[in-house]
Symmetry: C2
Subunit: 342 residues, 2 copies
Amino acid sequence: MPTTLKDVALRAGVSIKTVSNVIHGTIHVADEKRERVEAAIKELNYQPNLSARHLRKGRVGVLGLVVPELTNPYFAEVSNTIIAAAACQSYTVLVDTTGGLRENERVVINGWRQQLLDGVILNALALEQEDLHPERVETPIVLLGERFLDVPYDHIIIDNVAAAYEATRHLLSLGRRRIAAIGLRSDLLRQTETSEMRLHGYLSALQEAGIAHDEALIPTTVTPYTRQSGYIAMRQLLENAVSLDAVFCFNDLMALGALRALHEAGLYAPQDVSIVGFDNIEEGCYALPSLTTIAPDKQQIGETAVRFLLGRIEGTRTEPPERVHVPFTLIKRESTMGRATF
Amino acid sequence: MPTTLKDVALRAGVSIKTVSNVIHGTIHVADEKRERVEAAIKELNYQPNLSARHLRKGRVGVLGLVVPELTNPYFAEVSNTIIAAAACQSYTVLVDTTGGLRENERVVINGWRQQLLDGVILNALALEQEDLHPERVETPIVLLGERFLDVPYDHIIIDNVAAAYEATRHLLSLGRRRIAAIGLRSDLLRQTETSEMRLHGYLSALQEAGIAHDEALIPTTVTPYTRQSGYIAMRQLLENAVSLDAVFCFNDLMALGALRALHEAGLYAPQDVSIVGFDNIEEGCYALPSLTTIAPDKQQIGETAVRFLLGRIEGTRTEPPERVHVPFTLIKRESTMGRATF
């Protein structure tokens, strides 16, 4: 008979919960207890079988998480919160990437690997309404991100218009008047809703302040949302000698690229140009200067996504699909406030 | 009869290869052709079935990739090269994380989800020889990283001792003599081989230069390899008033944290303290100053791992398991060379 969690707990003289915590690595266990559990696991040659509980219920214990890319730290950080929330419920998360390509997203939304996964969390960028065939889909899906579709799935978002408005208001409150916006695609027919909503919030704040918007302050790039595209867009602004005193970048990576371009031109943030990003990736806390940014509550995004998905999988969530807003905050750092005294 | 790739190609008037490229998103397809393919996919309501080819051969078309964490950009960047290399061969990669925990790694190395995956690429940090039961494992495994085990799997590594030696030699060649090393764990019994090998390369270079090593220059941290641990270790050095003119950090994240701590103390790189990192994550190219670093050839790591794994899965690779060294280079940037004239 295979060794069970209980056998390990008895041998180690700890609770089953403690053994589980050591195995899942989700909660810190004191070194002394941990070592006893590890010794017992070794002595008994215990093989954790995380999926036993699920198999009894006809589930595999695996969730799919599908994001555009892992090299954007925002998606890596959100993935982390999802992996941690799922681990607390003994679910493994397997991550796949789409490159933000419509074709790949279409495969995922229409019942991707249903036999291997209990459910899927998808952050879509490019899906169109006509791509959806919910009648083919047997496993629950939760959507993340700013793609708004008429589809019977729970959907977790933040209010991008309000967030971009608040970022721009912050720059206006500092007396900035020539505020550039970086994040639009040069192919204007292929804007993501993310870009459109952030542009909309930016324009609303300008309008409210009685500032006419100036096309010259809104450069476009071929593939936005990377460090390189922020760098290139900032270089364009500088080469075109566009007068500016602030930049709102539609994500942190572009803001970090723009910072680099400014610095190379002998301009500094915030003295010469104030910069605000979006995402609150960890990199922005350590950047020189540290980056003022919009911080979506990633913890809550991950926990809500997992709670909704598991609720659907386990049948405890029976409400009609909801669109839920997760809060965000503006975090003011050196790129707009200047260097604190350390 | 379901629509096939060929039907789409005929409708769009392009080759099957082009349709495949649009669907897999691995190779750029000119906009005009791409639009024709997308239109044909839509008209024919084509559902890509990536796994058909595999199912015919008793495979599922899915590889598992297991790394310690995705929020370390090094692992995200290596994952990206693996995902791209696998996509070229019509394999999907699902990514799981272990938190670097021995218990989780043990589950993976001993035949994890063999029924769902054709093979696994594992970057292990904590496995011990006694954890291994290769007789239970039915699917091929390829190992990445510096955990050296006597196990019948292909293993892809870089020469960490030589790389750390070269990083330290670079600092010595700039006339630096008080070179700190950041990356050891305070729990000396739980060093990873990565830390040990990088320390060894550092000490060899010092010894060769006739410099006695000074314990005060080797601070330890509780959980190394994060921005925060680099920041804390640098603060410790500064608070202890340790005289130093350079730092070799065992990864880029710690180097970026150390840069921040230096800057807060009014010290600058490279004027006051030169800094070298390890990994060549993209963040280091855009940092201010940009980061001198050891660059493992991530492209080659990903391509070799996938080539070896698919060779085992498809039976074309029959050689005994190999340990293969992938090259690295030292990339000199502003954190040691100073600011270039732009």
